[in-house]
């Protein structure tokens, strides 16, 4: 990783529909607000591009949501154009746009691609009509095919699909069938997420009232294992707990997070980590717009991490990647020996066969991968 580089995240907080499991910062579409939102984004961008003018090259841009494709192609193009104007974007920068099926048409996709977005990540979640319904998604299977095919036709040669497993009633075969259908689309990248229920979501409420029952842990584990085996057999590189890629197509932007490197976040609820300071913007789009118009920033929370916290985060994130973390880089970064801080923890985790150290990389063992949280907890 080049120290003189960072990732740029831009949050588009609008969605046509809030799914039952979603705990992201997403809000209903408001057409008139959205135009002022884009202007606010650009104002915020201007502020930070000046502040971090010496921060180096932008290696990746990621438009996430909500659903970024709720913005018009023109608006999306305008945002990217501004990025290029204000930052020094690397020539081979990965520029990702998240999209949901049924939110985007052919023409729109073409202009977005032409504007310079070179990677698209589509929220498929499932190729099963029943499961989509259960997940409370706003689209059907047919729309998935449409959107993916159109993306390809529009020239997106770097395509990622999001899938979800451990959906209630999902069998191992049912899940494998989902994976198979995904592979038909020949994606460069796949994110497979274990459905997780957060308390404050509508699924959370259904669960606590007993109306939604998650598959048991053992079954969840089997599904996860099957994912890994199946995708490896099909030539994918398992590079992070929930992420798989064709070799060389790993998501640069997300790797920046997992390496705990600098990332600048713009937009409502966006988080950033620049030079040891973590901040987060206010969540509500209207408040965000107001704050930006008033003072060019909308930071609601900011903290400067103590060395021990920063080390804990670096391990918490780094161990999510299957190659783990480089001990040398860790020690360079924190100017201390890792064993001086975590000697006992490392010894005990090694004894329990939860981690390995090989060729200077500290990583989760196969057993440790499924217990990542328990392992990470020891480093916090």
């Amino acid at each position: 990783m080049n120290e003189q580089s960072f990732g740029l995240y831009i949050h588009v907080p609008y969605c046509i529909h809030k799914c039952g499991y979603c705990d992201f910062n997403s809000h209903p579409i408001k057409r008139d607000e959205m135009e002022t939102y884009v202007s606010a984004l650009i104002k915020e961008m201007t502020h930070y591009s000046q502040k971090f003018s010496s921060a180096g090259t932008v290696n990746s841009i990621f438009l996430g949501g909500g659903t970024p494709t709720t913005l018009s192609a023109t608006q999306l193009a305008r945002i990217l154009e501004e990025c290029k104007k204000q930052f020094n974007i690397a020539e081979d920068a990965e520029i990702t746009l998240e999209a949901n099926p049924a939110t985007i048409g052919s023409d729109q996709l073409k202009s977005i691609r032409q504007a310079g977005y070179n990677r698209i990540s589509i929220g498929v979640q499932s190729f099963d009509e029943e499961e989509l319904k259960l997940l409370d998604r706003a689209h059907g299977v047919e729309e998935i095919h449409c959107t993916v095919d159109r993306a390809r036709e529009s020239g997106f040669s770097n395509l990622s699909l999001d899938l979800m497993f451990a959906i209630p009633n999902q069998t191992l075969d049912g899940w494998e069938n989902n994976l198979r259908q995904a592979l038909v689309k020949n994606p460069e990248h796949l994110s497979t997420y274990n459905l997780t229920i957060e308390k404050e979501t509508s699924f959370g409420k259904l669960q606590s009232s007993g109306k939604l029952v998650m598959p048991d842990e053992d079954h969840q584990l089997e599904l996860f294992k099957r994912t890994i085996d199946f995708l490896k057999e099909n030539g994918f590189h398992h590079y992070e707990i929930s992420n798989f890629a064709r070799p060389g197509k790993e998501c640069k932007h997300n790797i920046t997070y997992w390496q705990n490197s600098n990332t600048l976040g713009l937009g409502a609820g966006a988080s950033f980590y620049m030079n040891g300071i973590r901040s987060k913007n206010t969540n509500l789009p209207a408040n965000y717009i107001r704050e930006i118009n008033k003072k060019h920033t909308a930071v609601e929370f900011s903290e400067s991490l103590r060395p021990r916290q920063a080390m804990g985060e670096t391990l918490m994130l780094g161990l999510r990647m299957l190659k783990g973390i480089s001990i040398m880089k860790f020690e360079d970064r924190f100017q201390t020996s890792i064993r001086a801080i975590y000697g006992d923890v490392i010894a005990s985790l090694k004894e329990k066969e939860l981690i390995t150290i090989e060729q200077g990389q500290l990583r989760l063992s196969k057993k440790g991968l499924f217990l990542a949280n328990s392992v990470i907890l020891e480093f916090i």
């Binding site: 995240y9 949050h11 992201f24 910062n25 997420y193 274990n194 459905l195 997780t196 842990e217 053992d218 969840q220 584990l221 996860f224 707990i241 929930s242 997300n254 997070y257 997992w258 990332t263 976040g265 609820g269 966006a270 988080s271 950033f272 980590y273 973590r278 987060k280 929370f301 903290e303 916290q309 804990g312 985060e313 918490m316 994130l317 999510r320 329990k352 939860l354 991968l369 499924f370 217990l371 990542a372 949280n373 328990s374 990470i376 907890l377 916090i380």
Partner: protein
């Protein structure tokens, strides 16, 4: 001050009948404090008291009252705790009085503690003024309370004062009744000084402050006093009263209540119930005093981290200074390391001490399940008190064991008789009395093993009677009983801190319930945990906690990092509070699992 114008009284009541609120009103009405100085329940000093809305430690205030005809009186009001755990404090306070205000809630009528308190007052020969409180509430029924007073307590109801302490109704009537109906103290001020020590606490700046009721004679600053039981002497530095502000006065004389500061360094030198006299001109006869409060419930208190052992000892020592009813002595447990076996008056007392240790002294504690003390009778006729079940195995040639019994009094609306009988039977209770106090209200008395009621009897009683039944108890004696030791094993190892002594008829059920309960309290570990309950070498229950196989976050991106880290930090803090026994990490709740094993 003229002795004939002094009135010494306490307020007694069933819990929540409005004792502290009435005390506040009396202070307000006599000008002891301005309205803006009043915090609710001014006499409840500790944060804990105010938070829980209860009085733990008795407080005393001197108030000035002028009646309609202009006569001036001095009231010494001694507030008393309301919870059954602290009954001994009530009897302490009553010894310093000539009368009591007996508060009865007009919506609830007479309750079990009302009766217990009236008995105490009668034993002390005190004048009783009934105060029917909460008459502002729509459901209040003062007339039926009056009937109850006559029928149940044989107290004349025409003297009853109707109040709403909350609304300030009837407060003047209460003060007038105190002046008119409570006798003035007697006692010759010219005789040698003699006073009853009825409370004491430690003040870091002044040393021990003792509260006294002067019985005979007169005391001035500078005098030399002797504590007759502990046989120590001090020079009086300061005399005073609480109004409720601490106020210095010149002298204390027969009939008065006040404090003495005399450079007393150790609490041990001041025994509650002791007689204080003039060292140069001593009284001939000491007062009879009263029996000391004995701890009834025991529990092991262990620091979570061994480094806090010294800090815990210091904290216990400091708490003990102001609470002579609680005891502690060092002990060690194979499972928990070094700690202390502490004795408490009851469960509430235990919770309060525990909370104060954690809150005021910052010691992270692990508390073992509370137990009562058993008598172990050996074949050689010796008797040993067993306050820790784990120690039973060290005892040789046991002939038999005895457990403490209490007399429990329950007052209930008659429709709940059935469920109460079932509950009492389940707790090995023996009914000794059943009396209709009126057509709708019944008094039940049971002899009950104390171990059966100490943990959750009161909660069970409240929930099965929708809160209508009230309960009070007093210790009776020790009785021979078929007791066995129930052990809990984790992965084959006995955890001594989880052992309990229990009646053999209940051991199987309890063992199964406890194993089940522990299964829900001990988190999954990275290996399988087998929980067994055993009596001697016989395993009677077994549960398995499966090994944790999956614990992984699906997502962690830029927006999640702070939140996830904080979540992990919180989990880590929880983990630090667990005790590792063998390899198994056990949270505090597991040690208290026995508190709720009835599965109801």
């Amino acid at each position: 001050m003229t002795q004939s114008k002094i009135r010494n009284f306490s307020i007694i009541a069933h819990i929540d009948h409005g004792k502290s609120t009435l005390a506040d009103q009396l202070i307000l009405h006599t000008g002891g404090l301005k309205k803006r100085e009043m915090k609710e329940q001014v006499l409840d000093n500790m944060d804990l008291e105010r938070e829980r809305g209860i009085t733990i430690k008795a407080q005393t205030v001197r108030l000035q009252y002028k009646d309609e005809s202009g006569e001036e009186y001095t009231f010494n009001m001694i507030d008393t705790p309301g919870h059954v755990d602290f009954t001994y404090e009530v009897s302490r306070s009553l010894a310093a009085c000539e009368g009591v205000l007996l508060i009865v809630d007009a919506t609830q009528g007479i309750q079990a503690q009302t009766i217990a308190n009236v008995n105490l007052a009668t034993q002390n020969d005190l004048a009783i003024i009934p105060v029917i409180n909460k008459i502002d509430l729509p459901s209040s029924d003062p007339d039926s309370v009056k009937e109850q007073l006559e029928d149940i307590l044989q107290i004349e109801s025409d003297q009853a004062v109707l109040t709403s302490a909350k609304e300030g109704i009837g407060i003047d009537d209460v003060m007038n009744a105190v002046a008119q109906l409570i006798p003035a103290p007697t006692g010759d001020s010219e005789k040698p000084f003699k006073a009853l020590l009825f409370d004491a606490w430690y003040d870091p700046y002044r040393g021990v402050i003792v509260l006294v009721r002067v019985v005979e004679g007169r005391l001035k600053a500078g005098a030399r006093i002797r504590f007759m039981a502990t046989d120590v002497e001090f020079d009086v530095e300061e005399l005073g009263t609480f109004t409720p502000a601490q106020t210095v006065i010149d002298s204390l004389q027969a009939g008065e209540v006040g404090y003495i500061i005399a450079g007393i360094k150790e609490m041990g030198q001041t025994k509650i119930g002791d007689t204080i006299t003039d060292a140069n001109q001593p009284t001939k006869e000491a007062l009879s005093g009263y029996k000391e409060a004995k701890p009834m419930v025991f529990s092991g208190l262990y620091p979570i981290s061994g480094e806090q052992y010294e800090a815990l000892r210091d904290a216990l020592n400091k708490l003990k200074l102001n609470d002579s009813s609680f005891t502690y002595e060092p002990e060690s447990s194979q499972a928990l390391g070094f700690g202390f076996r502490c004795g408490f008056l009851g469960l509430l007392h235990m919770e309060i001490i525990r909370e104060r240790l954690e809150r005021e002294y910052n010691v992270d504690l692990l508390t073992t399940a509370p137990n009562v003390a058993f008598q172990v009778h050996s074949t050689d006729q010796s008797i040993v008190m067993l306050d820790n079940p784990a120690k039973l195995k060290e005892m040789r040639s046991i002939d038999h064991m005895k457990e403490p019994y209490v007399m429990g009094t329950i007052i209930t609306p008659e429709e709940y008789i059935g469920v109460i009988m079932a509950l009492a039977r389940d707790r090995r209770g023996i009914q000794t009395k059943m009396e209709y106090l009126n057509p709708k209200t019944v008094l039940l008395q049971y002899e009950l093993p104390f171990s059966e009621i100490v943990l959750d009897f009161y909660d069970q009683l409240k929930s099965t009677t929708k809160g209508y039944a009230s309960f009070d108890y007093e210790f009776v004696d020790f009785r021979t009983s078929s007791l066995v030791k129930l052990d809990i094993l984790l992965n084959g190892e006995v955890v001594d801190a989880l052992s309990l002594i229990i009646h053999k008829d209940k051991a199987y059920f309890q063992g199964r319930e406890l194993a089940k309960k522990l299964k829900t309290k001990i988190p999954q570990q990275m290996f399988e945990v087998i929980i067994q309950a055993a009596i001697g070498s016989k395993v009677i229950a077994r549960e398995t906690i499966k090994a944790l196989r999956k614990n992984v976050l699906a997502k962690c991106y830029g927006g999640d990092i702070t939140r996830k880290r904080k979540l992990l930090e919180k989990q880590k803090a929880g983990k630090k509070k667990m005790k590792t026994i063998g390899k198994v990490e056990i949270p505090q709740e597991a040690f208290l699992a026995v508190l709720r094993t009835d599965g109801k």
